[in-house]
Symmetry: C2
Subunit: 195 residues, 2 copies
């Protein structure tokens, strides 16, 4: 399953053949099909793994970097920047690929992809709630978390296509500019109540 996860990530689901998974992992056909009845079941197991490991792999390392809640959101995004860089833009978000490839083909896969996105989005939303009055009170944290996820996925898509960090960097810089303005607004409101 680890081999399958890596190959699905590198090449997508359809483009990865069972034969290749068997060859890379040194497993034989009969053994794989003893545990996973179909190739799709193997993918579902991989998607479960991503849900189970989001915090360990993505959120916790970012949270450990800084005590600032907003800073933690950008630390998460910085993790993706780093990942794009070390893979030379060959790999991005493991879920985003599968989202567009598989949503129309398998309802079970689509639902597990939604589960992954919701998992990620809720983690970011929690950080945004943790930010408290560093953000204006009337800002919709839920929608903002969706926005952050969308900006990340869009930026990763563009940088993978361009084979350049520039689009991702530009997107994150604009997102940062937005958060700076939100923070400034929250700050001026706080000062006003201080008077």
């Amino acid at each position: 399953m680890d081999t399958a996860r890596e190959l699905f990530l590198q090449k997508g689901f359809e483009a990865t053949s069972i034969a290749e998974i068997l060859r890379e992992s040194g497993v034989n056909s009969g053994s794989l099909y003893y545990f996973f009845k179909t190739k799709e079941e193997l993918l579902l197991a991989v998607l479960d793994w991503y849900v189970a490991n989001l915090y360990r792999e993505v959120i916790d390392p970012a949270v450990a970097q800084t005590k600032d809640a907003i800073g933690r959101v950008f630390a998460v995004l910085d993790g993706y920047r780093e990942y794009l860089t070390i893979t030379e833009f060959r790999q991005g978000c493991p879920i985003g690929n599968l989202a567009l490839e598989m949503s129309e083909k398998s309802e079970a896969v689509r639902e597990k992809v939604v589960l992954n996105f919701e998992n990620w989005r809720k983690a970011i939303r929690q950080l945004l709630f943790d930010a408290g009055d560093l953000l204006p009170a009337d800002v919709d944290r839920d929608a903002l978390a969706t926005f952050v996820l969308g900006v990340m996925e869009g930026g990763v898509m563009l940088s993978r296509t361009y084979r350049s960090l520039a689009p991702f960097q530009a997107s994150i810089a604009m997102l940062r500019a937005h958060f700076d303005r939100l923070a400034a607004e929250a700050n001026s409101t706080r000062n006003r109540t201080d008077c």
Copy 2:
């Protein structure tokens, strides 16, 4: 080629078989291969079509809707909202799908996808320049255009996966909030120089 374009859009490149294109279009194998030496060449022709038809299909209708430059940007995005809705979230941006699916598999396709993104991005960038002092002078129009593209692609990806307009709407609403703040800042700067 029209049939191929629709099928590639609906199901992706790999998932669309030549046999299906032939069946749907009523064309015979020999005829297709007389014009396109490979399936990939057929895709490249489709991608050329998208470059050639961006303005006619996407930009011009949005420009016709309003004289406000920023409004035109959001009219373009609204076109994608409408498209998501009428296809019941089954189809999004034709290029975004192919970007993630094909970037690793064919350098020629990747380059044509980049061409499509650049085409789109430049159109948006022009609108942002047209906005003149409705945006703060120090805002990087180029990066902002990339941001708009990324937000659109990310929002489309999420809405297709969730089978709901909500993520796209939330993303566009947050983007709108950002533009509103930029416009407010530009406005206060203009007023200051008026004094």
